[in-house]
């Protein structure tokens, strides 16, 4: 039994026991939160239909393979698995696109393999950079300067390199 295996049930138990002590109406609050997330899930479907189709077309036509081959000197130098290159390419651009890429990757490769683990870690530790910058800067009415892109992409690139490194270290 490792820490990673028990962390989720432990968090759930802690939250519920603590809420009980604080006399929170657990049931109705839970239902409220669950409903909110279900509505988010429904909103996810339409963009996913077009994005999954676009990505499926890319992989069926062999475009992603061609691009990954093109980048293979760089990725193999970094020890980054070739199968995860397309996921890394789409991750900063589209959140649902990355979700779709991970989904199709898991259809071919076991999630418990080295490549599957690198993909999981990469997905879990990065964000939809361009979308986030666009939302924040347009809401604040500031023009996004190149520096903020450079900074965020530095974080993303570090994440890609280290996801391969850390997975090899852990398993």
């Amino acid at each position: 039994m490792t820490l990673s295996e028990i962390i989720v049930p432990v968090i759930i138990c802690l939250v519920f026991v603590f809420a009980l002590i604080k006399r929170v109406d657990i049931f109705s609050e839970f239902v409220h939160g669950a409903k909110e997330n279900l509505l988010i899930a429904i909103d996810l479907i339409p963009p996913l239909v077009i994005l999954l189709t676009a990505i499926e077309m890319l992989s069926v036509s062999g475009t992603i393979d061609a691009l990954s081959d093109l980048l293979s000197p760089v990725t193999s130098f970094l020890g980054f698995p070739k199968e995860c290159t397309s996921l890394a390419l789409i991750r900063p651009v589209s959140g649902s696109g990355a979700l779709a890429a991970l989904e199709s990757l898991f259809q071919d490769i076991s999630p418990d393999s080295y490549e599957g683990r690198v993909a999981s870690v990469l997905m879990g530790s990065s964000e939809t950079t361009f979308y986030t910058i666009a939302v924040y800067y347009s809401a604040a009415r500031i023009k996004a300067e190149y520096k903020v892109f450079v900074s965020s992409l530095t974080a993303d690139f570090t994440c890609f390199v280290f996801s391969a490194l850390i997975v090899r270290l852990f398993y």
Binding site: E29, E56, M57, Q107, T132, A140, D156
Partner: protein
């Protein structure tokens, strides 16, 4: 931007498959991929609802407030000139908490609010990009989506990526914050 990318995807795929002569595979895959999109969300929605409920309970019981208290030191370190009792400081703490709990839809409005509050401080030129980098490099404690997808595809241990994800997140957040402090240091000194 996304419009150009999608159109580009379709155009490039069609051209490449036309050259390769496997355009019939392409037409067939179009039918299946839309079905897969709906199936994917149905597979995800169960655990999304579960966690939405748990996080709401956590919010109501004041756990989020306790986390804000615990975040005082790191937030104070990243935004040194910001007073701890200012509204902007508290909103930043809540934004980070929402990110930690994986509440993306709660994090975004909080982040926007924090940026608007930060704009009032003239000496905080690098604070807005700092906050944006914190939000673009995921700092989620529980990788719900990834774990669910792993489980759906027959993983023996869907949660065992939790710790590596945390480590990699931390490293990339540090790299992003370093990049901000290096890139923005000259400007803020001139001011």
């Amino acid at each position: 931007m996304i419009n150009y990318i999608i159109t580009g995807f379709f155009l490039v795929s069609f051209l490449l498959s036309a050259i390769k002569g496997n355009a019939s595979d392409l037409s067939q895959s179009l039918l299946f991929s839309s079905e897969n999109a709906v199936k994917l969300v149905i597979g995800l929605s169960g655990s999304m609802a579960l966690w939405g409920g748990i996080m709401q309970v956590a919010n109501k019981s004041g756990i989020t407030k306790a986390i804000t208290k615990a975040l005082k030191k790191p937030v104070g370190f990243l935004f040194p000139a910001l007073p701890e009792d200012s509204e902007a400081f508290q909103t930043i703490c809540m934004n980070i908490t929402a990110n930690l709990l994986g509440l993306g839809n709660a994090a975004t409005p909080l982040g926007i609010k924090a940026i608007k509050q930060l704009k009032m401080y003239k000496y905080t030129y690098s604070y807005i990009p700092m906050l944006v980098v914190l939000n673009t490099s995921s700092i989620q404690l529980i990788p719900i989506t990834v774990a669910t997808l792993r489980l759906n595809h027959g993983s023996q241990s869907p949660w065992d990526c939790t710790l590596p994800i945390l480590v990699v997140s931390l490293i990339s957040v540090i790299a992003g914050c370093l990049a901000v402090s290096v890139l923005y240091s000259n400007r803020s000194k001139n001011r």
